[in-house]
């Protein structure tokens, strides 16, 4: 694993030093050239090694593992009724939860930034708990609260609602935390300008504030979705993992691995990977379009 790192590390340096760029006496290189200062070069090198070792390599490993089985294995795995159902459930629930988070997260961020109320500081801290809690602890909490012995009288155990609830719980902070700082930094006089030009509070929100928040909301949504489709610990206790009904992709991957079918596990993982990537790209495009449209 480590043997593959040096060539990666060398890669960013090669164009920097090997480039036959015309030497200039000026302080800065000509616009458009990619020459780096020594410190920037080191920084880029370190960043790339880090990124490669921690993110790129495992991603490639998954794809390599998938391709080891070849196309037939991949196709038969993901078209397997049980696997397909698990993927469908995971993706639809994650999308639904993300949609809810976009609205609720923005609302909570708004309340935290704009309103003064007793207990605000406490709420600030509490928001992060779903994120900070070990997921299996979260699973236990959810089982106690919404399981067969629910003190609230709400029993969602072994239903799809359990999956939804668990996703909702663990992804709560993402949109809140990405939107909050952006909202806090917004210039209030811009809203006052809109008001003096005749805009109602709702119009001001839709046409002035929302476009400013959109990148942050999109980033939070992407995080929330990615966290959702990968969730395991918090839902595994409450959902019951019933094949075709409440079994999610991560549980499916685990059962493939337990059966020693690495290629199939990798195939499911690849699908999740591609879906994540797709969602991130789509969110980015949507976000840009929204900002431009105003």
């Amino acid at each position: 694993m480590t043997t593959t790192v040096p060539p990666v590390a060398g890669a960013p340096q090669a164009p920097a030093t090997g480039l036959p760029a015309p030497r200039r006496t000026g302080r800065r290189a000509a616009p458009g050239s990619t020459r780096l200062t020594p410190t920037a070069g080191v920084g880029l090198g370190v960043a790339l090694i880090w990124f490669s070792a921690l993110a790129l390599l495992p991603l490639i490993a998954v794809l390599v593992e998938t391709s080891a089985g070849g196309w037939p294995v991949f196709w038969s795995t993901i078209t397997n009724a049980q696997t397909a159902a698990a993927l469908r459930l995971t993706i639809t629930q994650a999308l639904a939860v993300t949609a809810v988070n976009v609205v609720m997260g923005t609302l909570i961020a708004w309340v935290l930034v704009r309103d003064k109320f007793p207990g605000k500081r406490a709420l600030e801290v509490l928001i992060d708990i779903p994120f900070a809690l070990p997921t299996i602890v979260a699973g236990l909490v959810l089982l106690t609260l919404y399981g067969p012995n629910s003190p609230l009288g709400v029993n969602v155990a072994n239903t799809r609602s359990a999956v939804f609830l668990a996703f909702l719980f663990v992804t709560l902070p993402f949109v809140v935390r990405t939107v909050q700082p952006v909202l806090a930094e917004l210039d209030r006089s811009v809203e006052e300008a809109a008001a003096s030009l005749g805009a109602s509070p709702l119009t001001t929100f839709r046409r002035i504030i929302l476009p400013a928040l959109t990148p942050a909301i999109a980033a939070g949504a992407a995080l929330s979705f990615a966290r959702g489709i990968s969730e395991y610990g918090s839902l595994v206790l409450l959902s019951g993992n019933l094949p075709m009904r409440t079994e999610v992709s991560s549980v499916r991957i685990l059962s493939y691995l337990e059966n020693g079918d690495q290629a199939a596990a990798a195939a499911v993982a690849s699908v999740l990977l591609l879906v994540s990537l797709l969602v991130i790209v789509v969110l980015d495009v949507l976000q840009r379009r929204m900002v431009r449209r105003g």
Partner: protein, 363 residues
């Protein structure tokens, strides 16, 4: 009168921002609200715009009671110190915003936006984003945006405060010309007395949440109602228990003929003799001016104000001469001079316990 402010009071916690303010803003004129920071002038402007609610009192705009009207229904144009540009919208869309809200037909919007961008000389920047404009251009855009809705009054909150001196001066002249072209009732807030004197038809001096004086620039300068107004409109110095402007201090290297001095003294300064002896401490030349600091004997110069020794405030007089005058007189530190107030110049009695120099420096 276009805007009637009557008995308006506003508190922020314990801080009294406005204390029973009553003022009328004349129609079609450029009015400056002038005063030091924290004096309440911006609060008054924001209350007129509806961005802030008055605790007490009423606001009338063009004969209509606007006290309880939200900002969006007052039809006022507001320009902010830091532009408040809609960052994600192009310059043209920024200007069009108010018209779009009013559901104006698209072709009319386009026409009006074109017209306004020409007016503020930004027609070639229509499709740029505000971030691609300089500060002065952004403020002109903000002005066009505020004018687009054909406001009954235009309010500007320190509109040039964030710009550098040269651009500020240009925009100031330009605003004056613009106002002559489009005579919409305009109120602008400034702490810069030069800006107010230069641009405004009428100046309202506000300090400590109260109105000190209202009048034309000439009235304010020639007949300041009190010590504060006088010192805020320019530097002042103590001379013989009076406050005078430094350029109204005559400097003589020999005592002028007594008869003349006495006659002048009765006419202008009103104090017997009116002549004060002192010694030049320092001369500073700034451009065409020479500023001369003169130490005067405590009893003569500042007896009415305080009895402090020479280092104390008021015991030195500042005089401003032209460079040529200073050269002719040959003023160097140590020169003994005789000072008096120039005939026909204005002065007011120095208030007890308020050293002029300190206030001037704060301003």
């Amino acid at each position: 009168m276009s805007i009637e402010v009557s008995r308006v009071g506003k508190k922020f916690g314990d801080f009294v921002a406005l204390d029973d303010v009553t003022v009328s803003i004349p129609t079609g004129q450029l009015t400056a609200l002038l005063g030091p920071s924290g004096g309440g002038k911006s609060t008054l402007l924001r209350i007129i715009a509806g961005l802030e609610q008055a605790d007490t009192g009423t606001i009338e705009i063009e004969g209509r009671d606007a006290t309880r009207l939200p900002a969006r229904k007052r039809n006022v144009g507001f320009v902010f110190q830091h532009y408040a540009a809609f960052k994600h919208l192009s310059v043209a869309r920024n200007v069009a915003f108010g018209l779009e809200i009013r559901k104006t037909p698209k072709d009319q919007i386009a026409e009006r936006v074109d017209e306004l961008l020409k007016l503020v000389h930004l027609e070639q920047f229509a499709s740029r984003l505000p971030s691609q404009l300089s500060g002065g251009q952004r403020q002109r855009m903000a002005l066009a945006r505020a004018l687009a809705i054909q406001p009954s009054v235009l309010l500007l909150d320190e509109p040039f405060g964030a710009l550098d001196a040269k651009v500020r001066k240009e925009l100031r002249d330009w605003l004056r010309r613009l106002h002559d072209e489009i005579p919409v009732t305009t109120v602008f807030v400034t702490h810069d007395q030069e800006e107010a004197l230069e641009v405004a038809d009428e100046i309202v001096v506000i300090n400590d949440g109260r109105i000190e004086q209202v009048g034309s620039p000439d009235e304010l300068y020639d007949a300041p109602a009190n010590y504060f107004v006088m010192s805020f409109l320019g530097p002042v110095t103590h001379l013989g228990g009076k406050l005078v402007r430094p350029h109204d201090v005559e400097v003589h290297t020999a005592p002028p003929a007594l008869a003349v001095a006495a006659a002048d003294a009765v006419g202008a300064a009103g104090a017997a003799g009116g002549l004060v002896e002192g010694t030049v401490v320092r001369t500073v030349r700034v451009g065409f001016e020479a500023r001369v600091e003169i130490a005067v004997a405590g009893a003569d110069g500042t007896g009415a104000v305080d009895g402090a020794p020479s280092a104390g405030p008021g015991s030195s007089v500042e005089a401003v001469l032209t460079r040529a005058e200073a050269r002719t007189l040959g003023l160097v530190p140590g020169t003994t001079v005789w000072l008096r107030q120039a005939p026909g110049s204005i002065s007011i009695d120095a208030p007890a316990g308020a050293p002029a120099r300190e206030l001037v420096e704060v301003v």
